[in-house]
């Protein structure tokens, strides 16, 4: 079994079918994980999709960060498993302490759904290795609480260490600081971003297929790791 990539469904998760489809289109096997699960069923990477987990009536991602499935996610992330949070998933990873900073209400106070141009600024993560250096991609953004914020020290650290993975090419519709669309953990294994690469995997239903490389990257990475393990 190779290329098993988990997709978590919390109650209120909406883009799980899209994330699973993207994994399949990239060649992987999407393994559906439930918020109440206490193990990750042997997956090699895990995706927290977009949506409004538990309704997000409190603060986006605040409750999901404490869901049972997050305990094995935290353990796996500490051991270096690739983890991706998209939109609500990014919010959850920040709430769970796997990524620095926070996502707050858009500067315009309205939900924004539009296609945005992103620059891939770090291609050393397992989720971005398939992009060309400095690649510009077009993917949909759709969120009401997508404005990335962090204190000055954290921002400086992220910038210095190349941990801003995706940046809006034009001024961020959300008003995100430094036009940050996505960041990664210190080891680069955990990535979170607000826009939706899983909605840009087929020109028929999205702005193009620019997002597919996110899923192809991680698929290549986990298959490669599995092959290396087999050889050892």
């Amino acid at each position: 079994m190779t290329g098993r990539i988990g997709v978590i469904t919390f109650p209120g998760t909406l883009d799980d079918v899209d994330a699973a489809r993207a994994v399949r289109l990239a060649g992987g096997e999407a393994v559906r994980l439930w918020h109440g699960d206490d193990d990750l069923r042997g997956v090699a990477a895990v995706i927290l999709p977009g949506g409004f987990s538990y309704g997000d009536y409190l603060r986006a991602g605040a409750i999901a960060a404490f869901a049972p499935v997050m305990r094995p996610v935290l353990d796996a992330a500490r051991r270096g498993m690739p983890v991706l949070g998209i939109c609500n998933g990014f919010q959850i990873l920040c709430e769970a302490g796997l990524l620095p900073g926070a996502l707050v209400r858009n500067a315009g106070l309205r939900f924004v759904c539009r296609e945005v141009a992103l620059r891939v600024e770090n291609r050393s993560t397992p989720w971005t290795s398939g992009y060309r250096s400095g690649a510009e991609i077009t993917v949909p953004l759709k969120s009401g609480e997508g404005r990335y914020v962090a204190d000055e020290g954290t921002l400086a650290e992220l910038e210095a260490a190349g941990r801003v993975v995706f940046r809006y090419v034009d001024p961020a519709p959300s008003g995100a600081l430094h036009d940050i669309a996505g960041v990664c953990s210190a080891d680069g294994r955990v990535v979170g971003l607000m826009p939706h690469p899983e909605h840009a995997v087929d020109p028929l239903t999205g702005p193009g297929a620019d997002g597919l490389a996110v899923f192809a990257s991680v698929f290549a990475s986990v298959v490669d790791a599995e092959l290396r393990e087999d050889r050892m």
């Binding site: 109650p11 209120g12 909406l14 883009d15 079918v17 899209d18 489809r21 949506g51 409004f52 538990y54 309704g55 997000d56 009536y57 309205r110 939900f111 924004v112 759904c113 539009r114 949909p140 759709k142 009401g144 939706h196 899983e198 909605h199 995997v201 087929d202 028929l204 239903t205 999205g206």
Partner: protein, 754 residues
Amino acid sequence: MTHLASTTDTVEKASATPGAPQPWRELGLRAEEYARIRQILGRRPTEAELAVYSVMWSEHCSYKSSKVHLGYFGQTTAPAVRERMLAGIGENAGVVDIGDGWAATFKIESHNHPSYVEPYQGAATGVGGIVRDVLAMGARPIGVVDPLRFGPAGAPDTARVLPGVVAGVGGYGNRLGLPTIGGELVFDASYAGNPLVNVLCVGAMRTEQLHLARARGVGNKVVLFGASTGRDGIGGVSVLASQTFSGEGSGRRKLPSVQVGDPFTEKVLVECCLELFAAGLVAGIQDLGGAGLSCATSELASAGDGGMSVTLDAVPVRATGMTPAEILSSESQERMCAVVRPADVAGFLAVCAKWEVPATVIGEVTDSGRLVVTWHGETVVDVPPRTVAHEGPTYHRPLRRPPTQDELRAATPDRLRRPSTPEELRATILAMAASPNLCSRSWVSDQYDRYVRGNTVCAQGADAGVLRVDETSQRGVAVATDCNARFCALDPYLGAQLALAEAYRNVATSGAVPVAVTNCLNFGSPEDPGVMWQFQQAVCGLADGAAVLGIPVTGGNVSFYNQTGSTPILPTPVVGVLGVLDDVRRRIPVGVGLAGDGLWLLGRTRDELGGSEWAHVVHGHLGGHPPEVDLAAEAALARLLASAAREGALRRAHDLSEGGLAQALVEACLASDTGAQVTLPGEAFVALFAESSARVLVAVPPAAAQRFLDLCGEVPHVRLGVAGGGSLEIDGLPRLGLAELRGAWDATLPALFG
């Protein structure tokens, strides 16, 4: 709790105290309706029974003023047309076969009055309600369309209502994970005190998953599941939806009774229901909307084996001290009622537990012919369910063509000053493109998620929203809603047909084959004979039109009392049409195509400006005749578009409607971000701004030109020019740069609403 029981009005007490005064008038019943209830029961109703009858006999639930006219839809549906319908009028939503074992269901509902009182929650719960209707047919809801109408764009109250409604539609739909694939946004003074918030939901299912709302099988259990029951929305249908706000008749101002929505609970409820359907655990199902449990229990029983017993104590409530009448008429959202075989109850409850959806057995199906509801061991309701659900009052309201209609028809736009110089024509094109009814809708649609679930093929700016239903075969559906209410004011019969023709054409222009019609009939007070005449005319026009086109009207919704004081809204029969695409990859997007593509105008243009957007924007004029209706031409055009789409003979297309050819060219150029060089057929003003029906602009790749011409056959077609360049160049007019056009088109709504 025992002291409560002792104060409860039971059947026993009702029999013993026939003369006790009852608040039937306050509950919206007329004297003769109250008398009829007493006659049906052979005694006075209990407080709970009175609550049940009053909500179920409200205009909103009983269709008492419209029923006599709505029958015409059935009478005009030919047997061959009816065959494709798996479920029709009277069910929660109409269902049609779309091939390959798939069925689609769709319906529109209004949430007009609540949205005026509380724009956010009114609109939000409107989305929630129609989604549950579609879910109750056994389908997965797959998309929503929002036809919205407001007062003048610049009016202060529009700035209060519109942003709240849009945020409410988005706040609920986005959280529910349903793509918004289309809608309408219309401004007109007649909606100033009475906005129209209509929501269409479309769902898809395998045909064997069709579920009908009936309680069959004596001994089967009745399960209430979803949210708990509270005091919100009590009397919503009878108070809000069935009378005008001033409430002069009752001598007191009605209190708002708007429900509060919880889209998270609905999302979980949707997934829970779909799992229940897939596991075969549901024998019958009904959503709880207007009139709450009263409606669900009486309709399920009435359509099934005829009897049901309900233990009201079992209903989970979220407020203390609720009376049986309150529990029965609560309109708390996100609730469903299922009929479950006894052997399946444990499995049913287990699926609900997985989704953490509270579920409670509250009763069972009987063959008593009675709906019997008990509370603390005493009977509080004992009625024949058909008298509640299906045999409510029917009114033959007086109708009369208003005497002012002749003046309206006589006030033709012929004397209005028309732009004549090239500069004037150019300025008119720009001014029209920037006008509130024609400008870019992105300010609204950018607040709606159109990507979720990954099956949206066309949405923002499209003639029809297109959704993929089957990822393997690429089979899909297209949906559009339309209504030009100014045409309906000039002639409600033809206006309704023009609305049908436009929705039909929009679906066809996307490359789909139209297969079914639904509607949301928004009108003023049925107690106004002039309004009733408009209504009757519109119903006949729509039914006759659908019969000519050979597609069934599968259901609909009636919203009366849309007026401010004694002034009704423009008659607004919003028509929705559903179409089928065998392969969504063959859909035709809006645009002028690529540089070098030939631009053709299909259809015949006449000097038709009555009710036009030009007369409205430039002269504030409404009068004369609406455009001619030619349904045979519409059908021929649709056949041409479907075959041309299938053969790949069209690169892009765009329907002509409000604003005529000028607006179609502007929108198509902006959609493709490509200019065009065009020579106008005939007199410039008429060619640009007339709103003749049965017309479509198409972009044909050079290689397909001959095949396209062969396919045209009898359909009138004229070559306008070619796509290309950075501006719209209309023969004889100063050019219109795309940047200037886009600036004018994009700026209006952001300038108005921030």
